[in-house]
């Protein structure tokens, strides 16, 4: 089953509009098409200004697209006018890059997790409480964390909370915008493992935005490379990593540092030769 599908999605921003004359437009996403099957991960790769986060916001139903069609579980969605209906909102959730900025500092963690249920369901308070506690446990925290505030947690723990909040409503699709780029390497590994476990357990579909090719290689099924608003290449992870076609993709690969022993040995040898001459 296809969970999310985009058809030539575009996004325009007005960058300057005077009282007279035509407003200047910037096309931040120039026609992106994709489809993701249930339980799979689509990774969107690009650098700043590539339009990857703009596209993520369209898929997460935060911003309406300027053009094209977005389908969630086969249903076309148009969020241009009015509020996203609760049934649709509970299907799509988002996790942001900065776990320090995406949690309200005055809201206790328990309330953070119960709020989606309160807004989108008519579940009684006791059940909301139980579910929030169970979810805390699922993401590797404990019931003792229920009444604590965000500042009492480390970055990795906060990202776990943000992920827990996103899956409280049993969504079909999770949009993750650079969820591990603000984290230390060892914490990144824990959060990536957690995301993998949750995907298996709940059959979640991920759209994963990242600039880090090694992370993408680790978890993606399909990869889409964006540059300056354009989708320059897309395909399966195996195909893309084995044989990148577009010059920009190759440039990205060449720029990514390698930790391969042979590559280090070659670099050290080159340097020794240069210094000796």
């Amino acid at each position: 089953m296809i969970v999310v599908e985009g058809e030539s999605l575009t996004q325009d921003y007005v960058i300057s509009a005077g009282m007279f004359g035509k407003p200047k437009m910037l096309r931040a996403v120039k026609g992106a098409s994709f489809s993701v099957e249930q339980g799979k991960t689509l990774a969107i790769v690009g650098e700043s200004g590539s339009g990857k986060s703009t596209l993520a916001r369209i898929i997460a139903l935060i911003d309406p697209a300027s053009g094209g069609t977005l389908r969630i579980q086969g249903e076309p969605v148009a969020i241009g006018s009015g509020r996203v209906p609760p049934a649709l909102r509970s299907k799509v959730q988002m996790v942001f890059q900065n776990p320090y900025g995406s949690l309200n500092p005055r809201q206790k963690i328990g309330d953070v997790l119960m709020e989606p249920l309160m807004l989108n369901t008519d579940m009684p308070a006791s059940e909301r409480h139980d579910r929030a506690e169970a979810m805390l446990k699922r993401v590797g925290l404990g019931p003792e964390h229920f009444n604590r505030y965000p500042h009492m947690f480390s970055g990795g723990q906060r990202q776990r909370i943000a992920i827990a909040r996103a899956i409280m409503l049993n969504p079909a699709l999770l949009v993750l915008d650079e969820p591990v780029s603000a984290l230390d390497l060892s914490v990144q590994a824990q959060v990536l493992n957690l995301l993998g476990e949750l995907q298996q357990e709940f059959g979640l579909t991920y759209v994963f935005i990242s600039h880090d090719l090694s992370v993408v290689r680790f978890l993606a099924d399909e990869v889409m490379v964006m540059n300056k608003g354009e989708v320059v290449e897309q395909g399966s992870r195996e195909a893309l990593f084995a044989d990148p076609q577009h010059p920009y993709t190759r440039q990205l690969f060449a720029a990514t540092p390698v930790t391969d022993i042979e590559a280090i040995r070659a670099r050290v040898a080159r340097r020794k030769a240069r210094l000796a001459s």
């Binding site: 914490v187 290689r217 022993i261 040995r265």
Partner: protein
């Protein structure tokens, strides 16, 4: 020949709940013309130890060391005036946030000329000419125009090039780069690292690179110091470190790289170290 030698460096911060030890007896030495990477995660004290060398820590910090010498000169006992002649001239530093490191109210040209006038003793006219040369040397496109640009008119990569130009303006013998590419895109990161390595070889400076990124270490370092919670875990040349890491923490860091995943799961630090339970 050892350029900078530090023995048993300890940095404590006075906090409301008592004293906190950020750096706990670290030894560091870097030779002339050598690239040393200090690698660690947040809280490892990797930045604090180098800020202590530069004298950039706030008053709440207490710095002690058995030895801190630069090129045979004792930095612990030297006068403030002597220290000022050393820092900013023979030892310079660049930081993680290039845009925040520059003064937003002055043009890039003014800021580099100021360094040249004050630290290299050039006249304004000489400083102008040298600034242009330096901008060309660090590969800033349209250098004449960029001298008149304010930091907000430039990209992060360009601002980092300006910072590097300022840092090499006095032909320092040691450059300390604190996460110089962390805020930059990968293609820009590659350009900046290549630039740093070229300058390091051309000018024969020592370079200390503080980073959390094992990829950056693999691409640049001669020798590596691994720090964790203010202590030194391991020191080795770069090849030995990647090929045969001795300390469990180093092994943990290396296996946490996504490219080293086993069966779709990444080993984490807690698989290697027995840590106290999180609060």
């Amino acid at each position: 020949m050892s350029l900078l030698t530090i023995r048993n460096l300890t940095v404590r911060f006075a906090t409301s709940t008592g004293s906190f030890t950020a750096v706990d007896g670290i030894d560091v030495h870097v030779d002339a013309r050598e690239v040393l990477a200090i690698v660690g995660e947040s809280g490892s004290g990797k930045s604090v130890s180098m800020l202590a060398v530069m004298g950039l820590l706030p008053d709440t910090a207490t710095v002690t060391a058995d030895e801190m010498t630069f090129d045979g000169r004792d930095m612990l006992t030297m006068s403030a005036a002597e220290r000022r002649r050393l820092i900013g001239r023979e030892i310079t530093m660049i930081f993680q946030e290039p845009i925040a490191s520059l003064n937003p109210s002055y043009t890039a040209g003014f800021q580099i000329e100021e360094v040249l006038r004050l630290n290299a003793g050039l006249s304004s006219r000489e400083a102008k000419a040298r600034a242009l040369e330096l901008f060309q040397a660090v590969g800033i496109p349209e250098p004449e125009r960029r001298l008149k640009s304010y930091p907000h008119q430039m990209s992060g990569g360009q601002c980092q090039r300006v910072m590097i130009a300022m840092a090499i303006a006095t032909k320092p013998r040691l450059l300390i780069a604190d996460e110089p590419t962390t805020a930059l895109d990968v293609t820009i990161q590659k350009q900046i690292l290549d630039l740093l390595m070229t300058l390091q070889e051309e000018q024969g400076m020592g370079l200390i690179l503080i980073t959390h990124d094992m990829g950056v270490v693999a691409e640049t370092a001669d020798r590596v110091v691994v720090q964790y919670k203010g202590k030194r875990m391991e020191e080795a040349d770069v090849l030995t470190l990647f090929e045969a890491p001795k300390h469990p923490y180093t092994r943990a860091l290396l296996s946490a790289l996504p490219e080293n995943a086993v069966d779709g799961r990444l080993p984490t630090v807690s698989d290697f170290l027995i840590e106290e339970a999180p609060r």
